[in-house]
Symmetry: C2
Subunit: 276 residues, 2 copies
């Protein structure tokens, strides 16, 4: 695969895609990003990603123009000779002061990279329950993909240390939010359940697609962890995994016999939507 | 001032101090930093900064060796021809995967920059009270200087928008933590008060110096914002400002008549410690 990167209006070889150490993205994670699935050269749910990206930039008061991104995405997919891929767009506040207060005017850094599609694990996976809380929406606008990844990285490393795919993160009230990298859906009887955005979680685009396409009725709400004890099926959803079956919540020993069937059903409606 | 930067073992001109866009520092703010005051070519409280830096790296499981930093600091101060300055050390997890789970082994990015000492404002300043909560220590190891600056940046921009130096951040229980950029000390009668680390705040090195050197008895505890209503004096403390007098908490209209005297007293003990 040819590896070029879009950086501030130019497509350059990956080895030349470098930013100053004074970029506030590096100093403070002061930016937002999007990870977009590309199928047959077409970014899936582009408009939804751009809506969330613009809202995140607005929340952080970063004055970046997303208009050139669609053309840039097509050019990058073309030059990297990709059909199915992952597109990652990152926008930081750009080079700025050493202090938290941004100074020196608006000069955002815009990066777009591609990567191969991740092949999801072939067998169902287990989840851990993180010792870390999800950061509160009163502390950060967590509904956007902020470049504030330490909480997620700690939770993901914790899961790996216990032989699990990922960790469930709950809020300070003990309500289920999401995993480090994905939203959660579970099934009891004929109903699907997923945490409401008000619990403090990423407004995932795959979550949005499932809310739009689900063959089952869905209830969004505030659910404590014990709610999962008697679920029939559990899946995690994101751009990489689409819908991934979870066979067990390991520390609790809770098992989910119908997760693969639920994942298949959800992947099926997603595949139809992608093809349409 | 000559501007060179230390980057991964080499001192290079600032214009060449660039990192790949794939650095997890840029992707996720996945790193820690220190800001150290340099007086007469000597970094102040070096050992204390290195202790906190090492503890932060350990908390994030970033395997970086800080041993070369002291020699690098002296070389950088020398080549940049500085006497009094600020030294900023940033260590990220380095180039890594697009996902939260670190992959590809340990290859941290180490950056050291210098800057002129900031001249604190000549007149006392006001503080705002942020609408944002401080991230919980249950969500992030906030006692270290994580490269997770969005909460602080939002609070600092909020303060600037109201004509204030900085914003006070409280935790979810309404207890005072710190400002976006500094720790807080206030005086009632002959006693100084400052929030305890257990409230969820940065273990500031200037805070530590004041705890060590204060001419007044100090109580560390959990204090709600209203505690400040009848304080006689209020200061904010960090490496840049040392001890800065606060004349007013603006949204509440609370005034502090003795803040300049307190700031002078604290700056005096700090100056003696720096000179010794």
């Amino acid at each position: 695969m040819k590896q070029h990167v879009y950086l501030n209006g130019h497509i350059v070889p990956q080895s030349e895609a470098r930013i100053p150490v004074a970029d506030r993205g590096f100093r403070f994670g002061d930016g937002v990003f999007e990870t977009i699935a590309v199928y047959n050269r077409v970014p899936y749910q582009w408009d939804l990603h751009m809506e969330r990206l613009k809202a995140g930039l607005h929340a952080l008061d970063i004055p970046a123009d997303v208009t050139p991104l669609q053309g840039a995405a097509h050019a990058l997919i073309s030059i990297n000779e990709l059909n199915d891929a992952t597109l990652r767009i990152a926008i930081s506040r750009g080079v700025g002061s050493q202090g938290y207060l941004p100074t020196g005017g608006a000069n955002p850094t815009v990066v777009m990279e591609t990567a191969d599609r991740i092949t999801p694990p072939a067998t169902p996976e287990s989840l851990w329950v993180s010792k870390w809380e999800k950061p509160s929406p009163k502390a950060l606008p967590v509904e956007y993909k902020l470049a504030q990844g330490v909480n997620s990285s700690l939770a993901r490393m914790e899961a790996a240390g216990h032989g699990c795919l990922d960790s469930i993160l709950c809020n300070a009230r003990g309500e289920i939010c999401e995993t480090s990298s994905a939203n959660l859906f579970w099934k009891k009887g004929d109903m699907l359940y997923t945490p409401a955005l008000e619990c403090g979680l990423l407004a995932g685009t795959t979550r949005a697609a499932i809310l739009r396409l689900s063959p089952y009725a869905i209830e969004e709400g505030a659910y404590v962890l014990d709610t999962l004890a008697d679920a029939d099926a559990l899946v995690v959803t994101n751009t990489h995994w689409q819908a991934m079956p979870i066979v067990e919540i390991k520390p609790n020993g809770w098992n989910f016999a119908e997760s693969e069937a639920l994942a298949d059903a959800l992947r099926n409606v997603l595949a139809n939507d992608i093809a349409s």
